[in-house]
Amino acid sequence: MTVWTPTDDGHADLTSHDAFVDGVPHNTFARLRRDDPLHYTEYSAGRSFWSVTRQADILRLNRQADLLSSAQGIRIEDQTEEEYLARRTFQETDPPEHMMTRIKVARAFSKGVVAGFEPQIRDLCNQILDRALDCGSFDATREIARELPMRMLGIIIGVPASDLPWLVDKGDALMANTDPDFTDHVLDRMTTDAYRLMPFNSPAGAELYDYASALMARKAAAGDTDGVLHMLLRPGPDGSVISDTEFRNFFCLLVAAGNDTTRYSIAAGIQALCHQPELLGQMKAGGIWETAPDEIIRWATPALHFRRTATRDFQMHGKTVRAGDKVVYWFASANRDETVFDDPFRVDLARQPNAHLSFGQGGPHICLGMWLARLEVRILFQELARRIAAIEPAGPHRFVRSNFMGGIKTLPVTVKAA
């Protein structure tokens, strides 16, 4: 067990996006894990909430969807019933309703089916690297990390490559809706509530809605009806079909959920290569590819938290959580839990077991795209490691301004080709 050595007072305001601009405030989480694992976190912009910071506590709670519901919002911000209904996807439902949608797409995202993308992903990785490595010095988030998930999205939902940059910009505006680099409508600085019925409170949601409708019309005209999006439209075992709004929200979810998360996993992995020089050699030697993707994704923890709402009173760590209270699972904290991970602040590509919670493991909403993400990360680093002799930082990196989306948004590097 590593002993935590604080580098600041460990009292960051977890509700402030600015507290995350230099990365996750790990001192604060370490203090909370040790001293106050169920912390009542004051929130000036809405109802205060409980912060759960230990890995074992999140695992124990996340599986109890009847006690901790996703059906009243999954981010810290409060939502009215009207906003919730307008914006929700199956991610904001509880079992058994949740399963009705999940089973329609589970096979398409299963490990076995996703494995079929391997040659295509390898090909994409090499195209991306051909271009990036030519530059010698570049922003690795922009030139490498952003490219792969964006192009995979095009393949999965079947959209023309020329639409992808636009789609990804919109996805960024949703996920990073608190960072002025990604949106003109910075959520916590906005005075208008014109977009409150749109996904993520963002005007980009409206544009994605229109795009989804046009896309489906185009596909219908072309007789193309067997993609993932069409699977969603099929009736469930009880004959139920999803509503228009829910369909469009799912489209937004795919554009948003699969992009930034995978991008920032790749970026965090490249940052690790820069700061732990032994990693490149280990990757070149191989033998770590079964475990390396999960370790890189643990290291990254792109989804810093998700939220639930208590349906009944319950006791934990000597405190009483009341029905209706918001409960936030801080995956970013769980993934550095010193009681679970040896040396949690080091990247160990051979780490095994690796009980990280980056994908929301342990509950019904476990990431639908986890096999695809793991595959993309593995192949990207296999190809990168094969093709470079050295990589080093070429300036300071900068993080997204968000307590929800954790990621390095600019990552200047210099590489030497192999």
Binding site: A65, M99, A106, R107, G112, P237, F359, G362, G363, P364
Partner: protein, 104 residues
């Protein structure tokens, strides 16, 4: 009460399992390879797939609709007696149960 897992390499592992525990929990607690249970038994990951010895299948209880659908999302293709082991609870009836762990 005892459960035996037949691993992909042909070797077997047996363990005592308390009644009421799911067979996924028992497998994870005993480090059975290829049974991960990543969604904690929520029927969302299909990483707890096992093939029940046909002689025992009738005693493992009915296959639910959602479980049936999720069995199409397993890594190794389903077999006629495939189950998601998070959906089977240990009971006296199952003492001596044999499960084949799929995969290579």
């Amino acid at each position: 009460m005892q459960v035996t897992w037949i691993l992909p390499d042909g070797t077997t592992r047996s363990a005592e399992v308390q009644p009421g525990r799911t067979l996924m929990e028992a497998a994870v607690a005993n480090g059975i390879p290829n049974v991960h249970g990543e969604c904690g038994g929520s029927l969302s990951c299909a990483t707890c797939h096992v093939v029940v010895d046909p002689e025992w299948i009738d005693r493992t209880g009915p296959l639910g609709d959602f479980e049936d659908a999720m069995l199409d999302a397993t890594e190794t293709a389903r077999a006629p007696t495939s189950r998601l082991s998070c959906q089977i609870e240990m009971s006296a009836d199952l003492d001596g149960l044999r499960l084949v762990v799929p995969g290579g």
